[in-house]
């Protein structure tokens, strides 16, 4: 892509650079949060419990006197990690299923379609709850549950793209030069499916973060005292009605901004990758 075009696109959508900056901050916090945090995120100090935000404690302290700023910083790793794992897993399995369904069609397509229909027959958050309850209350099961409820979207996106490209001229050419089916599918067709897939993954990251944090908010998945934004909001909920807003507010704000960042990033990526969808 030419630089002029890129500059033009970034000017058209001034939120995209903002999203990129937020993304950089988020990744930095996830990677180096535990190194740069000013206090120990686990150290309780009951003498300083429920302190309002101050110069020492930028975001205040929680009911055990732990520094909320440090905990929010370190929590980025957990939240981002779970969402990323869930999205990668869903994208990998979903792409495989969707590509197979779109390329081979017929009965394979029908079977895979039935499978996604079953997942979509549930309200997704309730299904995630049930899966975590059934598999056991652990972080890895939250990842599996998120991956399962995300998967149908990948299957559908990839399936529809592959089904269109299957009849394209370059596929015919590849076949005439002696390529076999798997090679045609994965080496010739898939590169063209990547752009919409990447957009879908970016938009999906925000949603996955919301899901994982919601599950831990209701007590599924990550256990205290791990710093995780959903649990921190749940911890702070009881102090809202007595006026100690900062306990729940800052982790909730961090989560909101992270989700906003991925949504904006997804929109921006779509503008860059897929000119037809530009507003």
């Amino acid at each position: 892509m030419e630089r002029r075009e890129l500059v033009y696109l970034l000017k058209q959508n001034p939120l995209t650079p903002l999203a990129i900056i937020m993304f950089a901050v988020l990744v930095f916090a996830a990677l180096f949060g535990s190194v740069i945090s000013p206090h120990d995120p686990f150290a309780s100090n009951t003498a300083d419990a429920l302190q309002a935000p101050s110069l020492t404690y930028w975001f205040g302290t929680d009911q055990l006197g732990r520094d909320i700023f440090s905990r929010v910083l370190v929590g980025a790793q957990t939240d981002l990690g779970i969402a990323l794992a869930a999205v990668l897993l869903a994208a990998a399995v979903g792409t495989f299923l969707g590509a197979t369904a779109g390329f081979y069609g017929g009965r394979t397509d029908a079977t895979i379609g039935r499978f996604t229909d079953i997942v979509m027959a549930f309200p997704l958050f309730v299904l995630a709850m049930a899966i975590v309850a059934a598999l056991g209350n652990s972080v890895i099961n939250v990842v599996y549950a998120s991956a399962i409820i995300n998967m149908p979207f990948y299957v559908r996106v990839v399936r529809s793209e592959v089904a269109v490209l299957r009849g394209a001229g370059f596929v015919e050419a590849a076949r005439l030069s002696g390529n076999r089916n798997p090679r045609i599918l994965w080496l010739h067709i898939m590169p063209s499916v990547m752009p919409p897939l990447v957009v879908q993954m970016s938009l999906n990251m925000g949603w996955s973060m919301l899901n994982a944090a919601s599950l831990s908010f209701i007590g599924l998945g990550i256990r205290p005292p791990s710093p995780e934004w959903g649990i921190m909001v749940a911890d702070g909920a009881q102090y809202i009605i007595s006026g100690q807003w900062w306990v729940a507010f800052f982790p909730g704000l961090a989560l909101t901004l992270a989700v906003l960042c991925f949504n904006l990033l997804g929109d921006g990526l779509r503008d860059i990758i897929d000119p037809r969808q530009r507003k």
């Binding site: 229909d117 997704l124 049930a130 309850a133």
Partner: protein, 339 residues
Amino acid sequence: MNTRIFSTIGSRLLGALPSLAAVIVVTFVIMRLLPGDPAAFFAGPAASAEAVEQIREQLGLNRSLPVQFWDYLGDLAQGDFGQSFTTGQPVAADLVSRLPASLELTIVALLIAVVLGLPLGVLSATRPNSWVDQVTRLVTTTGTCLPTFFTGLVLIYVFYYLLGWSPAPLGRLDLMYSPPPEVTGFYTIDAVLAGDWEVFRSALAQLILPAVTLGFFALAPLARMTRAGLLGVLSSDYVRTARACGLSSRVVLTRYALKNTLVPILNTMGMVFSYLLGINVLVEKVFAWPGVGSYALEALVASDYAPVQGFVLAIAVLYVLLNLSVDIACGLVDRRLAR
């Protein structure tokens, strides 16, 4: 005409059966995956191995899975969802008594979202890039990234703690009042039916914050879809023709454009309702709302799995029925889809 409507509804009903079957099978499988041994759970920690074995036999857990599934279907057919040992009641009875609370909340939330979201979408589609459009963009962007539980807490802080306009976020009714005589199970409607305006006022005051929390979440997709759908229709040839024929912009909008946007809006409403059914759990927890979601959560915490399973099944069946009615409504609105 009428027979066609009925055959449409009939075919949609048949079409919903596979989803219903899938939902029942998946719920059964999930129940079998649950950790722990239900027999040991029922027998209690002090029970001997024989006692556990006996209970396993009573519960039918020693039979093969297909047989168990058949028994499960039989139980469901009789409306038997099992027993909750935290409340000591049959799960079906618990769900029936708590469902109205959840439905009242969800329906009022959806109403709020529709009443605000559709006009916002229409206004921003008819005036692209105006300030209304910018407001809509802001609302839809924030609406999709605010976690509902967080919105709820912020609203509680502002309207209960700071301003003191709302009652304490604890349930459906102020402790001073007793629930109105049950007709629909919706406190607001029951209070009106009983002519008890104080109870109505209290029930409404309790309802507003959780409903706004949920509604704000539902607002974003509705406004966005209305805007996108209407923009597409407004740039179509027949709208141009209608304008060229001198029809007023109001007639064009209401008689031509909106009618054709109705199907995508209805579909979005179905999708939004499904979100709401799931997100309900979070809002019910934040506002101590005694609905099915908080019931399932309490049971989940106590490792009492029959209520969780009953909840998942009930919500999933509700969702299948909802999709069915959206399908039927779309078929009635747009006869081209009815085939």
